[in-house]
């Protein structure tokens, strides 16, 4: 049954080349739009994520802590969930840092007779542990450890950044959904137009006694094949556009920490699968009208 349907779909494609090409082109362009935006959106999110890498938690160690105690503390912190790197900063290093930070006005520190700064640990978090809530929780746990006097992190900055990050993510998801729905409707519309110009053929088949399945199966197969070809073509177009434009954007000259990546193979496959499904769904909805003839 399926083999015969496939065979008939094949001759049908040969007999209606123009319509199939138009359909594939429209699907390809739609896939191109959605995946281009996804590409942009993914990279922008990654970019913001990479920026967040700078987030560090500083734990200040009490003044009278002995070296073995400190070493134990370091070990404890290192074993906490979400901690990636722990670096010890002696109070002398901290003093020198401060001098550099104040820069021009550093001469005013020369008058000091002793370094009033404490020892500290600079704690870098793992990639998966960078949400605002995670950081807050971790800071609290560290703050509760013995020998830790105080914990500091860029709270204000993080709040702000988190706001941007979430706004961006939500907006992006809204846009992707909108684009997805819009292109889905465009594809359904195109398929409906194709069915419209084939309504005479469908009507004749009905009249000589074809049942719905006989008519539908090859059309569905064709729509799925169109979805497949259109999806692959769309992604190839995106790839072409990608390798043509990205070297000219050259973000790595500005941001050494960040490299623009193409959409993943998995995501590409998902897109192709989606576009096959859209072909099927578009066909499903447009065919009903014309089968009633």
């Amino acid at each position: 049954m399926l083999i015969f349907a496939a065979k008939r779909a094949l001759t049908d494609i040969v007999n209606n080349k123009f319509l199939h090409i138009v359909s594939i082109v429209t699907i390809a362009l739609s896939v191109f739009i959605v995946s281009a935006f996804s590409l942009f959106f993914n990279n922008a999110t990654d970019f913001l994520d990479a920026w967040r890498t700078g987030v560090r938690v500083i734990a200040y160690v009490g003044a009278n802590v002995t070296e073995p105690q400190r070493t134990r503390l370091e070990e404890t912190i290192r074993n906490l969930n979400g901690v990636s790197v722990v670096e010890f900063i002696s109070k002398d290093d901290a003093f020198n840092d401060l001098k550099q930070k104040i820069g021009q006005q550093s001469s005013l520190l020369d008058g000091l007779d002793k370094n009033p700064l404490p020892d500290s640990f600079e704690i870098t978090l793992t990639d998966s542990y960078r949400r605002l809530e995670d950081i807050e929780k971790l800071s609290q746990s560290i703050g509760g450890l013995p020998y830790v006097e105080d914990v500091e992190y860029a709270q204000k900055w993080l709040h702000r950044f988190n706001g941007i990050y979430n706004l961006f993510k939500v907006t992006g998801l809204v846009l992707v959904s909108i684009f997805f729905i819009a292109t889905l409707l465009i594809i359904a519309n195109t398929i409906r137009l194709i069915m419209y110009s084939r309504r005479e053929e469908i009507e004749i088949m009905r009249i000589i006694g074809a049942d719905e399945e006989f008519i539908k199966y090859p059309l569905f197969l064709e729509a799925v094949a169109q979805g497949f070809l259109g999806g692959v073509a769309g992604i190839l177009m995106l790839y072409l556009a990608f390798i043509l434009t990205v070297p000219n954007l050259a973000p790595e000259t500005v941001f050494s920490f960040f490299e623009i990546r193409f959409i993943s193979v998995k995501f590409s496959l998902t897109i192709v699968l989606c576009s096959m499904m859209i072909g099927w769904v578009g066909c499903f909805f447009s065919i009903r009208k014309f089968l009633k003839l």
């Binding site: 007999n15 088949m205 009249i207 006694g209 074809a210 006989f214």
Partner: protein
């Protein structure tokens, strides 16, 4: 009208068909026995094509009852319509060939619809194309054929499935006298093989030259039967 009931294959009782205000058929009653050969004639717009359309349920009657081979057409479900239509071989007045399929594919479609396998289909289609004299054009598409050639393809499609009932709407209107006579022989052969044949035609000469009951329609009504 005095046919025995068990031999009746088509029975139309008080059938009317209205399109808006226009009444294409009015109170038509007709009984057709198995293996009858019937001519339906009448002027342009009399309702000949409409009558044929009602029989294969291309349209539904506005009122009255139509029974085909025991089935009441007003009662059958959408799912059963394809089965009904496969009982018929229909030659349409406007041919109704699919322009994007070749002559061969157009005729083969009837057999594919009936579920035959490609290797059974091929010889049967080529045979019937040969009989209507169009086998050399099997790979062409209908739009390039001449009027008469299209009509012969339509005839071939109607006959290829070995239908119980042949409905022929003006089957020789685009044909020269020789070809027309040839097509008529084919219809006769189908008839002799056991099929019921209903031919709608204006061709008075054709009617005179052949045996068969003649039903005459005028403005949607039965005018005369003999």
């Amino acid at each position: 009208m005095h046919a025995e009931r068990k031999n009746t294959i088509i029975r139309m009782f008080n059938v009317s068909k209205r399109y808006g205000k226009m009444e294409a058929l009015s109170n038509l009653s007709l009984e057709v026995r198995k293996n009858e050969f019937i001519f339906v004639t009448g002027p342009s717009g009399a309702g000949k094509s409409t009558m044929i359309k009602l029989l294969y349920k291309g349209e539904s009657a506005s009122s009255g009852a139509i029974l085909v081979d025991g089935m009441n057409l007003a009662r059958i479900s959408r799912k059963q319509i394809p089965m009904l239509r496969r009982q018929f071989g229909v030659i349409f007045q406007d041919f109704k060939l699919i322009p994007t399929k070749t002559v061969f594919q157009n005729v083969a479609l009837v057999l594919a619809v009936a579920g035959l396998k490609p290797k059974e289909i091929y010889p049967r289609v080529m045979d019937v194309l040969e009989r209507v004299g169009i086998d050399d054009r099997a790979e062409e598409f209908p739009p390039v054929l001449s009027g008469g050639e299209k009509q012969r393809v339509a005839v071939a499609r109607a006959m290829v499935g070995g239908p119980k009932i042949v409905l022929a709407d003006e089957p020789t209107g685009s044909l020269d006298p020789d070809s027309a006579a040839h097509i008529f022989q084919l219809l006769r052969a189908v008839h002799e093989a056991g099929a019921t044949v209903i031919v709608a035609t204006h061709d008075q000469q054709m009617i005179n030259n052949h045996d068969g009951r003649v039903v005459r329609l005028e403005k949607g009504r039965m005018a005369r039967e003999n």
